[in-house]
């Protein structure tokens, strides 16, 4: 529930004022009246007792000063009405069995007062009695005092209380009003200013400063608003700069993306180039056979024509047989080239980016040979031993053949590169071979496949590409899958091969990892799910 500051101030002030007024108007006069009455009762009683004592002393010891002093003291009181010396006589019946007590006024002062002995207190007269037991007199001192003065005093008390409570009420109301104004007005001003600052108006200032903590708060508020205004200006400037920097960064990002795309394209082109080189080399071989045997046949046909012209038909028949054999070889190698081209066409046509059941062994073998021939096409001196260890029980696996082929090509190419790098412990011999301390270094790349069963029971394939190169140092082993990371000299690699391979394998739901030891070799392991 929302309660205003003014209400919070007024509530306790009014509560206190009303409580105090109530106390002053009712409780206090009531209590005072009772106290006055009580004191009056006690006073009159004491006077009666004093007079009684004086009488007793006078009668017993014939010392009348006590009673004279007591009577003078009693008469001095403004409320004094009368004092009776009451004699109580015991009246026995004739048989002296039963008795009555008879009270009679022995002496009275004032002399002509007519207050009977049996009189008791009422609203206007207070009667008090004190007993006297003396040999000469047995009875009571009966003292009568007017309650007029005490009633008047009580009225005065009530009147004074009423005036006091009225005064308290007025003072309380004025104080409450002053407090409410002095506190709530500046606080509301602060609140309104704070609200406007919250809405963005930093030109707000509090102009009045009361000489108290609220004034200090107002000054602090003004300082705060000034600081906020400065900070906002600085923020706006910084924002402007950031915006400019952001634009530059966006531009740089676009450039980077473009460059990345170009580099990826280059990588793809590079791998494509290697693939093309491999393919070209593959085709070159059968075509060489076709060309060679065609040339030989052409020469043999010329010889056969000469033999026919010279009538040497037996020789011509022998030549025709040779020509036929050569022609069969041309046909064979021609079909080989045709098969290679058809295979590549089939490979390219079927590449729609969708997974399809693929013979992983055949794919691995194909890309191994492509990579090898591709490298040989670039560098005639390149030589390496390639081995394959395929698990025939793998069967077909659902993969995107071109993507996995790209991965295998990359791994195999890297392996060939690694084995072409001289081992530190293997200096080159004069013949060009590398000699390790225990013999000649034979660069070897092994591609193997194995049926793989995952912990969940799924069957997949594990492909390993191993080399006996220098291995990967521990310092860079964790970086090899990072984009643009390369150990090749500048210009020789984009550094995206393994990064792209990693992405392709992950997209297939597989895993790629490396096992390496410096000075011994490296094995890349690709695990593909079924």
């Amino acid at each position: 529930m929302y309660v205003t500051l003014k209400a919070k101030i007024w509530l306790p002030v009014l509560t206190i004022v009303f409580l105090f007024s109530f106390f002053t108007m009712f409780y206090f006069p009531n209590r005072e009246g009772k106290m006055l009455l009580n004191n009056y009762n006690n006073e009159v009683q004491n006077l009666a007792s004093t007079v009684a004592l004086g009488v007793k002393i006078a009668l017993k010891e014939q010392n009348y000063e006590g009673i004279q002093t007591a009577m003078e003291f009693v008469k001095e009181n403004s409320g004094f009405l009368f004092v009776n010396l009451i004699q109580i006589d015991t009246l026995w019946d004739n048989e002296h069995v039963h008795f009555n007590l008879r009270e009679s006024v022995f002496i009275a002062y004032p002399v002509k007062s007519k207050y009977p002995a049996e009189m008791v207190s009422n609203d206007s007269i207070l009667i008090k009695r004190a007993p006297i037991q003396a040999p000469l007199l047995s009875g009571d001192v009966q003292l009568g005092f007017s309650t007029e003065e005490i009633n008047e005093n009580m009225k005065n008390v009530r009147r004074t209380s009423l005036m006091a409570s009225g005064g308290i009420l007025i003072v309380g109301l004025i104080l409450g009003l002053l407090m409410a104004r002095n506190i709530s007005i500046p606080v509301r001003a602060l609140r309104d200013a704070a609200l406007r600052v919250g809405q963005g108006d930093l030109n707000q200032t509090i102009k009045k400063f009361p000489k108290d903590e609220i004034g200090d708060l107002s000054k602090a508020f003004n300082h705060m608003v000034q600081d906020l205004s400065k900070a906002r200006s600085q923020l706006l400037q910084a924002n402007e700069k950031l915006s400019q920097t952001n634009n530059l960064l966006e531009s740089a990002l676009d450039d980077l993306k473009s460059t990345q795309a170009q580099l990826i394209h280059s990588e793809k082109m590079a791998s494509l180039g290697e693939l093309t080189a491999g393919i070209a080399h593959e085709i070159q071989n059968p075509l060489n056979f076709v060309n060679n045997f065609s040339e030989v046949n052409s020469e043999l046909i010329d010889e056969m024509q000469d033999e026919i012209k010279s009538g040497n038909f037996e020789e011509a028949v022998k030549l025709s047989r040779q020509i036929k054999e050569n022609q069969e070889k041309v046909n064979f190698h021609g079909k080989r080239a045709d098969g290679i081209v058809k295979g590549m066409l089939l490979h390219s046509r079927s590449n729609r980016g969708e997974k399809e059941p693929t013979d992983i062994n055949a794919l691995a073998d194909e890309y191994l040979r492509l990579a090898y021939h591709g490298l040989r096409a670039k560098d005639k001196t390149f030589n390496a031993t390639i081995k394959t260890e395929f698990d025939e029980s793998i069967g077909k696996i659902n993969i995107i053949p071109q993507d996995i082929g790209r991965v295998l090509l990359n791994l195999i190419t890297n392996a060939f590169y690694a084995v072409s790098t001289p081992k530190p412990s293997a200096p080159k011999s004069p013949e060009g071979d590398f000699k390790t301390p225990d013999g000649v270094f034979i660069p070897t790349v092994i591609v193997s496949t194995k049926r793989f069963k995952s912990p969940s029971g799924d069957i997949g394939a594990e492909i390993r590409v191993s080399d006996n190169g220098p291995g990967i140092p521990d310092t860079i082993k964790d970086k090899i899958f990072q984009p643009f990371f390369t150990t090749k000299p500048t210009g020789q690699g984009t550094g995206l091969g393994l990064s792209l391979s990693y992405d392709i394998i992950k997209a297939h739901g597989g895993e790629i990892k490396v096992e390496t030891k410096e000075g011994e070799g490296t094995t890349f392991i690709v695990i593909l799910p079924a």
Partner: protein, 160 residues
């Protein structure tokens, strides 16, 4: 011997009785004498005249007058009623019993009609009081033995 002792005893007891009678007679005589001994009115020279009439005296001792002609306050001094002089005074001056006198003065003082009288146990105390208090007047049964006191003659007589 045995006959002598009873005779001696008889003689002894007779003597005792005789002495007792004499003693009692003397006591009674004293009492009677005390009761009937003349009273002397003494006063402080300031205020009180040296002579007055018996009616005036009674008026004073009854508390009917509060001041001397000189304006001095009259202070009555009496022997307590349980003394012989006091008893004598009750009868001679007031014609009241002791109790009646006590009640009389109680009533006067209670009603403010008279100043409280001073009662004394001994004549010496009474004389000293009269001597030291101007306006004081008292009753004793002898001539004053303290200075500063005068005897007031009543109707020309030194004693009552």
């Amino acid at each position: 011997m045995m006959n002598t002792i009873p005779r001696i005893g008889q003689l002894y007891s007779l003597q005792v009785v005789k002495h007792l009678v004499i003693l009692i007679a003397m006591l009674l005589a004293t009492i009677v004498h005390g009761q009937n001994s003349p009273l002397t009115i003494i006063s402080n020279p300031k205020g009180c005249p040296t002579e007055m009439k018996e009616s005036e005296l009674k008026s004073i001792f009854l508390g009917e007058r509060q001041r001397w002609r000189t304006g001095d306050k009259i202070q009555v001094a009496l022997m307590k009623t349980n003394t012989s002089i006091g008893k004598n005074t009750c009868g001679r001056m007031y014609n009241m019993t002791e109790d009646e006198l006590k009640k009389y003065w109680l009533a006067l003082v209670f009603q403010g009609k008279a100043e409280a009288p001073a009662f004394f146990n001994t004549v010496g105390e009474l004389q000293n009081f009269v001597s030291e208090n101007p306006g004081a007047i008292g009753i004793i049964d002898q001539s004053p033995t303290v200075s500063g006191i005068q005897v007031v003659s009543i109707d020309g007589k030194q004693t009552l």
